[in-house]
């Protein structure tokens, strides 16, 4: 994803400095006129990656659609912390029905807009990795195959955080969760399990699939903006660290997210109609342990399980090869 020919990066963070950019190229978030779709005052934990990701994504979608967005939300952290009755942080028309049906509810909203001739109104469904990849998977796949005019955004924090950090099909190998404790011969989550939903989404041949990270705001906003310019089923999978579940410092959320990308464990790419069209090369590849060591969910690997870290490194290396992430080096 290239938005400018000359790149300015702040020292050590790789975050592009908005102040150095032409105003038109700055992020939606840096603009005081941003909609703040998910307004302050909600009850997310300190350093919540999902709250950050949701505000980034929805604000960008609002900008892209002249503020004509309706969202359907799956049950989960985002739903619970944003709408404790009778308060709501949402500045957009927003609906929560059930855990598993956000994609279907969004299909229904989109159908209602179509039948009422409100073609300018765009519909987003959103949920966590559990609501998207596990319990909501059937509804999501149905929405994809019908090519319903919905952008589905998954905020992936790699476990069921709302219920107290239980394993999901997005939980990485070796990670400690409440249901994959760091005990026994093979502590943490098993290797060889789990699924890659962006690739499954691509297998539906929908117009647009992308991965994004809260560590790369420009890239995330560009992908959401691009998605809103397309009709049909679209899917964006955003990596959002969870300080509570991952055992990372709240102040490290963006750092942890960036290390996931720079290690190759969370590749950033785009696909159209089932084919990968772009991937974001790593600026400077880092070994996975730099990412892992910031998180207590992997603390059992250090000192006693160098083989396990090597296995995780293999996953990162395979990603780098598969998604062509090394080209930037």
């Amino acid at each position: 994803m290239t938005l400018q020919s000359v790149k300015f990066y702040q020292t050590g963070t790789f975050t592009v400095g908005n102040r150095l950019l032409d105003e038109s190229m700055r992020t939606v978030q840096s603009n005081r006129q941003r909609t703040n779709s998910l307004n302050s005052g909600h009850r997310a934990c300190q350093g919540c990656g999902e709250a950050l990701g949701a505000r980034y994504a929805i604000d960008a979608a609002m900008r892209a659609t002249q503020n004509r967005v309706i969202a359907a939300n799956a049950t989960g952290c985002l739903e619970v912390f944003s709408t404790p009755y009778p308060e709501t942080s949402w500045q957009i028309p927003w609906m929560h029905s059930l855990f598993a049906n956000a994609a279907s509810v969004a299909t229904g909203i989109a159908a209602a807009m179509r039948v009422k001739g409100k073609n300018d109104v765009r519909v987003i469904a959103q949920g966590g990795d559990g609501g998207t990849m596990d319990i909501g998977f059937a509804c999501l796949s149905g929405m994809f195959e019908r090519n319903d005019d919905v952008l589905y955004i998954c905020y992936d924090n790699e476990a069921y955080m709302n219920t107290g950090v239980q394993r999901s099909s997005a939980t990485p190998p070796a990670a400690r969760t409440a249901t994959t404790p760091a005990l026994g011969m093979h502590p943490g989550n098993d290797f060889g399990k789990g699924k890659n939903l962006p690739l499954i989404a691509m297998a539906h041949h929908i117009p647009y699939v992308a991965t994004a990270s809260v560590a790369n705001l420009h890239d995330l906003e560009a992908k959401v903006t691009k998605a809103m310019g397309i009709r049909g089923a679209r899917y964006i999978h955003i990596h959002v660290p969870c300080p509570l579940g991952w055992g990372s410092r709240p102040s490290d959320t963006v750092r942890v997210a960036r290390l996931a990308v720079e290690s190759g464990l969370f590749p950033l790419f785009e696909a159209e109609h089932g084919e990968i069209t772009a991937s974001l090369p790593l600026r400077k590849k880092i070994p996975v342990d730099e990412y892992l060591k910031l998180q207590k969910r992997f603390s059992h690997l250090f000192g006693s399980a160098p083989d396990t870290i090597a296995m995780i490194q293999e996953i990162a290396d395979r990603n780098i090869a598969k998604f062509g992430l090394a080209e930037g080096e």
Binding site: S97, V105, T107, G108, M113
Partner: protein, 417 residues
């Protein structure tokens, strides 16, 4: 217009006259013909201004309807049996959110053992979900109830199930009077939602509610149903005035004047019951019947006033509340609180078992002789049951029950004399 139509097709035409804006379709016997017919109408353009969505499950069907209804579109779907159970979570959700979706239930048994034939186990399983439940007695009433259901549901912001006996009504060809579009338009104004997802007036729908207000939200659902007790007869009355026939309402008493024995039932079996009542009345028996159209809300007062002068009540139910009896009897007994009359529950017709005039006549005669128990099962093959119970006593690994029973019965052709 008089038409000779399959029940499903008649209902589909009536639903089409209601100008639904979003229809969600997922196949399950025996409701499928309804959504098939609607699909034809949308595809051909006969039913315009309507989105027809083929979904991947019943759970999705109702979820799409929830989204569409919350966005202000008149929404419809249909299901039956396992499909209703599969969407159970969304059934409660639609009611909790106050979305006036209309859903046809082509009543069918619930497995295991898997069974596609008619009884009321499916809709009974959702009786406490907060939906209004109307049971149709005939194909004419089935189509009329749909028109009334949209009107009623939208007036109250409450979803409505129209329960129609699978096969007996859905697949039966009968003569029906099909209303004219202009009359339906005059009877049913466009859907004006009390809440809608609207970019010009953003609201959050579906907030989390804790102990501080949850009971009040639930009470308000109950309050809606209490209002429905007044609204259902009013709408039925207005329907009668406009369309010239009585359909719907809370209850339909039949020959209950001076009746000592009154039979209470839901749905199409009331036709057979009335035939038997006619025969027995002609022979001088003091017998009548009460068809209950509105099961939710349950019309306690109307049932009480219909039954209070009888000596005994027989509640004929196509649903078994395993371990207790029948759910319809519970409501009937509550309506008779403080009145000392004999009450009997008869479980009948489960899984499509035919309820014949002969069986009913024998049953009613036994009721008159006070030979019925509190809980009775109509036309049960006790020999078959005893054999299985013996088998289970003899052998630990007695095997699957359904297969054992079928083996005991033998093949169907072996019974042809």
């Amino acid at each position: 217009m008089l038409l000779q139509l399959e029940g499903s097709r008649a209902m589909a035409q009536a639903i089409s006259l209601c100008r639904p804006e979003v229809i969600c379709a997922y196949p399950i016997t025996p409701q499928t013909h309804i959504v098939e017919a609607l699909g034809e109408m949308v595809k051909s353009g006969e039913l315009g201004h309507c989105e027809y969505i083929n979904v991947e499950s019943e759970f999705a069907a109702l979820s799409v309807a929830i989204g569409a209804s919350a966005a202000g579109a008149r929404s419809y779907t249909a299901t039956a049996s396992q499909g209703l159970l599969y969407m159970a979570e969304a059934v409660y959700n639609a009611a909790g959110l106050g979305l006036p979706i209309v859903m046809t239930i082509g009543n069918r048994a619930i497995g295991a053992p898997i069974n596609i034939w008619n009884d009321h186990s499916d809709s009974m399983s959702m009786r406490d979900a907060g939906w209004i439940q109307l049971y149709a007695e005939t194909n004419q009433e089935a189509l009329d109830l749909h028109i009334q259901a949209f009107r009623l549901g939208e007036a109250l912001s409450c979803p409505v199930m129209v329960c129609v006996d699978g096969f007996i009504l859905t697949h039966a060809y009968e003569r029906v009077e099909m209303p004219q579009q202009g009359d339906v338009d005059a009877f049913l104004p466009p859907f004006e939602p009390v809440q809608a997802l609207d970019c010009d007036d953003p609201v959050s729908i579906g907030a989390m509610v804790g102990p501080e207000a949850f009971m009040e939200v639930r009470y308000l659902q109950h309050h809606k149903q209490s209002r429905a007790l007044d609204l259902i007869p009013e709408i039925a009355q207005e329907f009668a005035e406009r369309f010239g026939r009585n359909s719907g309402g809370l209850v339909k008493p039949y020959r209950i004047e001076h009746a000592e024995t009154i039979i209470v039932a839901l749905g199409s079996v009331n036709g057979t019951i009335k035939d038997v009542v006619d025969d027995m009345r002609e022979e001088g028996h003091a017998i009548g019947s009460l068809s209950i159209t509105s099961f939710r809300p349950f019309p306690l007062k109307a049932v009480r006033s219909a039954l209070e002068n009888a000596r005994r009540v027989v509640v004929l139910e196509k649903s078994l509340s395993v371990g207790l009896g029948g759910p319809l009897s519970d409501g009937v007994r509550k309506s008779l609180s403080g009145i000392a009359l004999k009450g009997h529950t008869v479980i009948a017709g489960l899984g499509g078992r035919a309820i014949t005039k002969k069986s009913l006549r024998d049953l009613f005669l036994r009721a008159e002789r006070d030979e019925l128990e509190l809980l009775n099962f109509l036309d049960l093959d006790m020999e078959l049951i005893d054999r299985q119970i013996e088998r289970e006593k003899e052998i630990r690994r007695s095997g699957p029950i359904a297969e054992n029973l079928l083996k005991s019965i033998g093949t169907v052709c072996s019974k042809i004399a």
